[in-house]
C-alpha cells in the first residue's frame, strides 16, 4: 500500500519541476532582485539614477518608436496576407504560408545584412544591374526608417499566424448567416469577420511589439552605424565597452526593457483569454469567400510582395557572397567562390563557431527533450498548484527580450553560490541561457500532443502492471516522439541562428554563428558575412522543409506555422 493515487508520479514530477524552475524562472527572479537593490541594500537610488540618464531616455524613445512603427508595418503586411489567405479561395495557400514563415525563421542579423546588400551605393546587386546610387550617398537603411521597415518584415509572420488562427476558428455558417440576411462583400467582412477576429489581432499586435522591442540583430546592424541606439543595443554597447563593472547599471536597463515587455505580454494574455469565448464549438468548414475575377490579380500581387521581401534580399546576399571583394560588380569573369571557401574552411573562428553553435543547439535540443517529455506528461496527468503556476510562467524566458535573459544569466552565474567559480566567459553560460530561453519552444509542442493523447493509453499500461518508468518508455515516449522531434528541430533551428543571447555572453573561443556574422560585417568583411549567412539560410530552409514534410505525422498544434 502506498500513500496517494500515484506516489511515484508525484515524486518524479516534483523532481523535474524543481530542475525546470531553477533553469527557467531563477534567472528572471535574480534579475528582479538585482534591480530592486543597490549594493546589497534595498533601494531604488541606482535605478532612478540610470533611468534619468539622457542616453537611457533617448534609447527608450528609439526603442518605442522602432518597435511601435515596426509593429504597424507588420500589422499591415501580416493582416492583409492573413485575411486573404484565411477567408478567400486563393490557390496554393500552403506554399504561400510556408514562404511567409521564412522571415520569422531567418535570424534578424541576416535579414539586416541581406537588405543592406540590395540598397545603398556599394550594393553588388545594384552595381551589377548598373542602377547603384553614386559613391558617397548614404545607405538608406542605416536610419530609424530602415530599422522600422525590417522589424516590420521580420515580425509580420507573428501577426499573420495569430490572425489566421483566429480567422480559421470562425465557422463558415457565421458568414453565410450574414449573407442570407442580406449583408454584402465588405460589409460582411467589416461587421462580422472583423469583430470576431479583433481579440486575436490585438493579441498578435501585443506579442509582435514585445518581439520587436527585444530585437537586437536589426537595430545593431542598422542602428549602430547610424548612431541610432535602442535599449538592447545600449545594453550591448555598455557591456561590450566596459565589461561587467557596469553590470548593476545594465541590470536596470534590462529591467526597463523587461517591464515594457511584461506589459505587452499581459495585454496579449488578456486578449488571448477573451478570444477563447469565440472559439467554443466552432470548428466546422473554414471560410472560403470566392474572389471571382479578382483572384488572379490578387495572387500575382501577393506573390510579388513575397518575392520582394524574401527572394530579392536573398539575391543581394548571394551576389555579395560571389564577388572577390566588396564593391566589385558581379560579372561572369568576377564570380568566385573564394569567400565561401574562406569562411567555411579557412577561417578558424568560423569553424569554431560552427562547432559551438552546432553543439549548443544540439545539446539544448537533447537536454530539453529529456526534460520536457516526462514533465509535460506528468503535469498533464497530476496537475498541482505549483505545476499550474509553472505552466503559466514558463513562456517568460522566451517571451522576454533576449537581452533581459542574458543579463539575468550573467547575474545568476557570475559567482556560483558557495564557490569562487564563475561560468561567465565559458560556453556553459550560453548553454544554460539556451535551455532557459528555448524551454517553451520544446515544451509547448509536446504539451499540445499529449493533451490530445487519450489518458487511457497510460492507464491501460498501468492496469496491466507497467511501472512509471515502463509506461514512459513503452507508451508515452513513443507516442509523443513525433511532437518531441518537431520541438527538437525547432529548438535546434532557433538556437543555431541565435544572436541576441550569445552577443552578450560570448567570449573568445565561445563565438556562435550569429556572433561571427555580426563581427564579420562589423569589421567590413561583408562578402564573407554574406557567404556564411547564405549557408545558414540554406540550413534553415532545409530544416523547415524537413518539418514540413513530416508535418502530416504530427498532431495538431505541433508545427508552429500550421494551425
Amino acid at each position: 500500500m502506498q500513500k496517494g493515487g500515484s506516489r511515484s508520479e508525484g515524486r518524479l514530477l516534483r523532481a523535474i519541476l524543481v530542475v525546470a524552475i531553477c533553469l527557467t524562472l531563477a534567472p528572471v527572479l535574480r534579475l528582479f532582485v538585482e534591480g530592486l537593490t543597490d549594493q546589497g541594500t534595498l533601494g531604488l537610488s541606482l535605478a532612478s539614477k540610470v533611468l534619468s540618464q539622457p542616453s537611457t531616455l533617448s534609447a527608450l524613445k528609439h526603442s518605442l518608436i522602432t518597435a511601435g512603427f515596426g509593429t504597424l508595418v507588420s500589422l499591415v503586411l501580416g493582416a492583409a496576407f492573413a485575411f486573404l489567405v484565411a477567408i478567400t479561395d486563393l490557390r496554393a495557400k500552403g506554399a504561400l504560408v510556408f514562404c511567409l514563415m521564412i522571415p520569422m525563421m531567418i535570424p534578424p542579423q541576416i535579414t539586416a545584412l541581406s537588405w543592406t546588400q540590395i540598397m545603398g551605393p556599394s550594393s553588388v546587386l545594384l552595381k551589377t544591374l548598373g542602377v547603384a546610387p553614386p559613391m558617397g550617398s548614404p545607405q538608406p537603411l542605416y536610419s530609424a526608417q530602415g530599422i522600422i521597415l525590417l522589424l516590420g518584415i521580420q515580425h509580420m509572420s507573428i501577426i499573420f499566424l495569430t490572425l489566421r488562427a483566429g480567422l480559421r476558428a470562425i465557422p463558415q455558417e457565421v458568414v453565410e448567416a450574414a449573407r442570407i440576411s442580406g449583408a454584402r462583400g465588405l460589409r460582411t467582412w467589416w461587421q462580422v469577420v472583423m469583430p470576431l477576429t479583433l481579440p486575436s489581432l490585438a493579441a498578435g499586435i501585443a506579442i509582435t511589439f514585445v518581439t520587436a522591442l527585444g530585437n537586437f540583430g536589426i537595430p545593431a546592424m542598422l542602428g549602430i552605424p547610424a548612431g541610432y541606439v535602442t535599449l538592447p543595443t545600449l545594453v550591448y554597447q555598455k557591456l561590450a565597452g566596459l565589461g561587467t563593472s557596469v553590470l548593476a547599471e545594465v541590470s536596470v536597463l534590462a529591467m526597463l526593457i523587461g517591464a515594457v515587455a511584461v506589459i505587452g505580454i499581459m495585454v496579449q494574455r488578456f486578449f488571448q483569454t477573451r478570444q477563447k469565448v469565440y472559439l467554443v464549438g466552432s470548428t466546422s468548414r473554414p471560410l472560403a469567400i470566392p474572389l471571382g475575377a479578382a483572384r488572379l490579380p490578387v495572387e500575382i500581387l501577393l506573390w510579388a510582395v513575397v518575392c520582394t521581401i524574401l527572394v530579392l534580399p536573398m539575391f543581394g546576399l548571394l551576389a555579395t557572397s560571389l564577388v572577390p571583394a566588396y564593391g566589385v560588380p558581379l560579372r561572369l569573369d568576377t564570380v568566385t567562390l573564394a569567400s565561401w571557401w574562406e569562411v567555411l574552411f579557412r577561417q578558424p573562428v568560423t569553424t569554431r563557431a560552427f562547432v559551438n553553435s552546432f553543439s549548443l543547439a544540439f545539446g539544448a535540443a537533447v537536454v530539453l527533450m529529456i526534460l520536457c517529455l516526462p514533465l509535460a506528461w506528468l503535469m498533464e496527468r497530476n496537475p498541482t498548484r505549483l505545476s499550474r503556476l509553472f505552466d503559466s510562467l514558463l513562456d517568460l524566458p522566451y517571451a522576454l527580450p533576449g537581452v533581459v535573459l542574458s543579463i539575468a544569466m550573467i547575474l545568476l552565474l557570475i559567482n556560483l553560490p558557495f564557490t569562487d567559480a564563475t561560468l561567465y566567459g565559458t560556453v556553459w553560460i550560453i548553454f544554460l541561457a539556451y535551455l532557459a530561453r528555448f524551454f517553451a519552444v520544446m515544451f509547448r509542442p509536446i504539451q499540445a500532443s499529449l493533451k490530445q493523447l487519450d489518458p487511457a493509453m497510460g492507464e491501460a499500461a498501468q492496469s496491466v502492471g507497467a511501472s512509471l518508468f515502463q509506461r514512459l518508455r513503452d507508451v508515452i515516449v513513443p507516442l509523443s516522439a513525433p511532437a518531441a522531434a518537431a520541438g527538437a528541430i525547432l529548438v535546434f533551428l532557433t538556437a543555431f541562428n541565435e544572436l541576441t543571447v550569445s552577443a552578450l555572453l560570448w567570449s573568445s573561443g565561445t563565438e556562435t554563428l550569429g556572433v561571427v556574422i555580426f563581427n564579420l560585417d562589423d569589421s567590413g568583411e561583408t562578402a564573407m558575412a554574406s557567404a556564411l549567412a547564405m549557408t545558414i539560410v540554406m540550413v534553415v530552409m532545409l530544416l523547415m522543409v524537413v518539418v514540413q514534410l513530416l508535418s502530416r505525422r504530427f498532431p495538431k498544434g505541433v508545427v508552429p506555422w500550421q494551425t
Binding site: 500500500m1 502506498q2 500513500k3 496517494g4 493515487g5 500515484s6 506516489r7 511515484s8 487519450d454 487511457a456 493509453m457 492507464e459 491501460a460 499500461a461 498501468q462 492496469s463 496491466v464 502492471g465 507497467a466 511501472s467 515502463q470 513503452d474 507508451v475 513513443p478 507516442l479
Partner: protein, 347 residues
Amino acid sequence: MADITLSSIGKTFAGTPAVQDISTRFEDGEFVALLGPSGCGKTTLLRLLAGFEMPSSGQIRIGARDIADGVTGTMVPPEDRNMGFVFQSYALWPHMSVRRNVSYPLEIRRFSKAEIAAQTDVALNATGLVEYADRMPSELSGGQRQRVALARCLVSDPDAVLLDEPLANLDVALRASMQAVFTDFHKRTGATMVYVTHDQSEAMAMADRIAVMDRGRIQQFDTPQNLYERPKNRFVAEFVGLGTVVPLRGVEKTDAAAHGNVLGKRIAVQSTHNSPSHVCLRPENLTISETGDLRAKVARVTYLGGKYMLESVSECGTRLLAETRAKFDVGAQLGLTITTPWAFHED
C-alpha cells in the same frame, strides 16, 4: 478469491460528490453490471475499483486484501492490483502491433519468451484474432479492436475484469455479437467482471446482477428479473423498462394479499413492503378489453414489429402504456384492466 467488498465508499471531485457512501459486495466469478444515466457515478466507481482514483472515504477489499482506504489515504496502485480494464476508447497502443499489444502485460511480468508466445497465442485464439496478429490497431475494425482490448486484459489472468462501456462505440449488429463474446468469455474463465453501461438491454442480457445507480448511489442491486418486476423505488421503476408510476391509496395488506386504490379503482397489488405508496404499471399489467373499467384515449401508436405500443391517456390525465397485437387509431377510446402491479414504498 476475487470477491470485491466496498464499505461506505465515497469520492468527491472539487467538493462535488460523484460517488456517495456505497457499501456492497461483488461475489467471486460474478458478472455485475453498473447501470445508470450519464453522470450517475458508475464510471467513477469503476475507476475507484481499478485504482485510477483514490476514494475520499471508505475501504475497498479484494478477497482478504485491502486495496484502498480513503481514511488513511493509502492504496495499492493500479499496476499492482492484477485487474484487467477494458476502456471505452479501447486504448490500444497505436505504435504496437496486435500481438505486441496483447503480449505487453506478460513482458511487464517478465515471463520467458516461450511463455509469452504461448500465452499470447492462447489469448489471440480465444478472441479469434490469430490472423490479425501482425496488423497495427489502425488497420482493424471497431469490433476487432474491441477484441484486442479484451485479449490484452485476459492474457495476464486478472483477478477481476473491469469494463467501461466497451460497446458504446460499436454499431448495433456488432454489439450483439460482442455481447456473446463477453458472456462466453465469462462462462469459460469464471472471472469476476464489472461492466459499466448506460444501456439497460445490454446489462439485462449479460449480467448476473445489476447495480442501478443514480446521483452517486446504488439505488438497487439485484438480478435483472427482480429489477424489472420488483423495483424498489420510483427511479428504478422508471429507468428500467417501460411503465408509469402512479400513487397507491387505501392499502389493506394481509399475509396472503394486498389491495389498494389505483387511479380510482380498487385492485390487487403485490408488495413486500408493509405500507406501499406507489405502483409501477408495466405494459404487461394492462389488458385492453371492451369491458375494462379504466377508460383511456389513444394518444400515440408506435409499431414495434408484430405488435403495437399504445400510449394512452386516462380520464384523470395519467399516461399509460399498453401493448396490443391489433391496431388502434389515435383518438380511439379504450377500456383497460389492471392486473396485480408491483407496489413499493417511497417517502
